[in-house]
C-alpha cells in the first residue's frame, strides 16, 4: 500500500516535473510564436493607445475579446471585419447610449482621436492568428 512518504514524493515530483515542462512550453510560445502570430511589427503607438483605452474603460466588463470578458455584449475580435471603420467610429463617438434592441452601451462620446486608436486596436487584434476562433457558423444557410 502507498505510504505517506511515497505520496509526498508523488506530489513534489509531479509538481516539479510538470512545472518545468510548463515553463519550457511557455518560453517557446512567447519567444517564437507570439511575435509572429500577433504580428508584433504592427503593434503601433496607436494600437497600444487603443489597448490602454480598452482597459481604462473596462470594455471587457460587457464584451469579450479573443473570447475573454463578459457575456453581455458582442464578441469584438473580428469587429473590424464585420462592421468596418465607420460603424465603429459612430458607436464610440456617440453621446447618447448606443442601444440595439434596447440593450444599452455606455455613451462614451470618445474624441475622434481616441475612437481611431480603438479602431486601430480592433484592426490589429482582428489580424492575429487565433487557431480559427471564432469558428464560422457551420449550419448557416
Amino acid at each position: 500500500m502507498l505510504s505517506k512518504s511515497q505520496a509526498k514524493i508523488f506530489f513534489l515530483g509531479g509538481t516539479v516535473v510538470t512545472f518545468a515542462i510548463f515553463l519550457a512550453l511557455s518560453w517557446t510560445s512567447l519567444s517564437h510564436e507570439v511575435p509572429k502570430r500577433t504580428h508584433e511589427e504592427n503593434l503601433s503607438q496607436q494600437v497600444i493607445k487603443g489597448k490602454v483605452l480598452w482597459e481604462k474603460n473596462n470594455c471587457m466588463g460587457c464584451h469579450t475579446i479573443m473570447g475573454e470578458g463578459a457575456y453581455y455584449a458582442p464578441e469584438l475580435t473580428k469587429v473590424y471585419d464585420r462592421r468596418g471603420e465607420g460603424f465603429i467610429n459612430a458607436v464610440l463617438t456617440s453621446k447618447i447610449p448606443w442601444q440595439p434592441r434596447g440593450r444599452q452601451m455606455v455613451a462614451y462620446g470618445f474624441s475622434k482621436e481616441d475612437a481611431a486608436n480603438l479602431t486601430a486596436f480592433f484592426k490589429w487584434i482582428g489580424e492575429t492568428d487565433l487557431n480559427g476562433f471564432p469558428a464560422k457558423p457551420d449550419l448557416k444557410k
Binding site: 506530489f11 463578459a70 457575456y71
Partner: protein, 455 residues
Amino acid sequence: MKYKSQRVAYWFFALSMLLLSLQIIYGFIMGFAHMGYDGLHSIIPFNTARAVHTNLLVVWLLSGFMGAAYYIIPEESENELVSVKLAYIQLISLAAVGVTAIVGYHFNYWEGRKFLEIPRPLDWLVVLNVLTFLGIILATLYKGKKRTTTALVLTMGLVFAALLYLPGMIWFDNQTMDSFFRWWVVHLWVEGVWELIMGGILAFLLIKITGVDREVIEKWLYVIVGLTFISGILGTGHHYYYIGVGKIWLIVGGIFSALEPLAFLAMALFAVAMYRKGEKKHPNKMALNWTLGTSIVSFVGAGLLGLAHTLPQVNMYTHGTLVTAMHGHLAFWGAYGMIVFSIISYTMPNLTGRKFFDSTTGQLAFWLSNIGMLGMTTAFGVAGVAQVYLERKVGIEFGEVQTEIQVHFLILVLCATMFTSGIALFIYEFIKYGRPTEEALAPSPMKANVISPVI
C-alpha cells in the same frame, strides 16, 4: 477553541459574509440587465456591476481563507498567533483596500482585465496586506511545536497564491501576452494553489469531524494535491487555445485539463470514505453537511462542468459564452464558497461556545442555497447552450440571440432568490451565534462536547 488568538478568525468570517451579501446584490443587477431591465444603467452600468460582483467574490473567499488559516494554524502548530494586533490591522486594511477598489469601480477607476480589475497602485497595497498575513502565519508556524502536513499544505497554498498574483501585475502592450499571464493568476489560482488551500482546510475538518487517524488523511491529502498540480499546471493550456499562442497548447491543454477532474473526484471520494470510516460521533452535523457537500458539489461544478467544455473541439464553440458562466458559478460556489461555509460552520460553536449544531435553520440554509445554485447553474446552462447553437452554429446575430434567451434569466433570478434566502438564513445563524467568548476557551475540544446538551 484552544488558543485565545484563534478568535481573530471570527472577524474575517464576518467580513466575508458581509462582502458576500454585497456580491449577491450586484449579481441581481446583472441578472435583471440580461432580462432587459437595466434601469440602473446610468449609475451602475453592467461592467461596473460585473467587476464588483467578481471582485467581491474573490475578496470574500480570501477573507474566508485567511480566517480559516488564523483558526487552523494555531491549533495545528500548537502555538498562539505571534501577533493578534497585527492580524486585526491586516483585517482592517484588507477591508479598506477592498472597499476602495469597489468604490473606484463606480467611478471608472479600474483596469479592464477580467478578474484583475484592481488598478495597479492598489495592487501594491494588496501585496503589502498579503505579506503581513503571510508573515503572521509563517512566524506562528515557525515558532510552533508542530508542523503538520495539513498546516504545511494550507500554508503552501497561501504562499503560492501570493506569488502568483505578481505576474498579473506586469504591463504588456500585446493583448496576447497580457492574457497569457493573466491566466497565471486566474487559472493557476482556482485550478492549482487554491485547491491546496481547499485540501488543507478539508483535511483539517475531516480530522476533527471524523476522528480518522491523521496519518491516513494526510497521506491522501498529498495524493490529491499531487493530482491537482500534475493536471492543473499544464491544464492552463485550456485557456491558450484561441488567444494567439501556438497549436501545441491544443494538445497539452486538452489532455491535461481533461485530467483535472480527477483531483476533484479524489477529493469527493476521500471525504466520503473518511466519513464512512469515521466514528460519526461528532455532534456538529452542519459542519459535516457542508464538508461533504463541498467535496461533492466541487466535483460536479468544477470537475464535470469544467470537463464539459474543456476539449478544444467543444471550446471552439463555447469559449466566452454563457456556458462559461454556468461552470464558473457552480465551480466557485462548490469548491470555494462551500469550503468557507464548512470552516465557518465548524468553528462557530468553538469560537462562541454556543452549540447550535443541528438547527432547522441551518439545514434550510444548506438546502436552499445549494438547490438554488443548482437551479442558477441550469438556467445559465440552458441559456448558454441555446446561445452557442444559435449564435455560433446557426450564425444568428448576437443581439437577436440575446433577446431570444432572455426568458432563461427570469428563471435565473428566481433560482437566485432561493439561493439568496439560503444565504440569508446562514448569515442569520452566524449572527445568532454572537461574538467569540472567553468561556469558549476549552482545554480540549472534548470537554466542550461533554457539556453539550446535544449528546
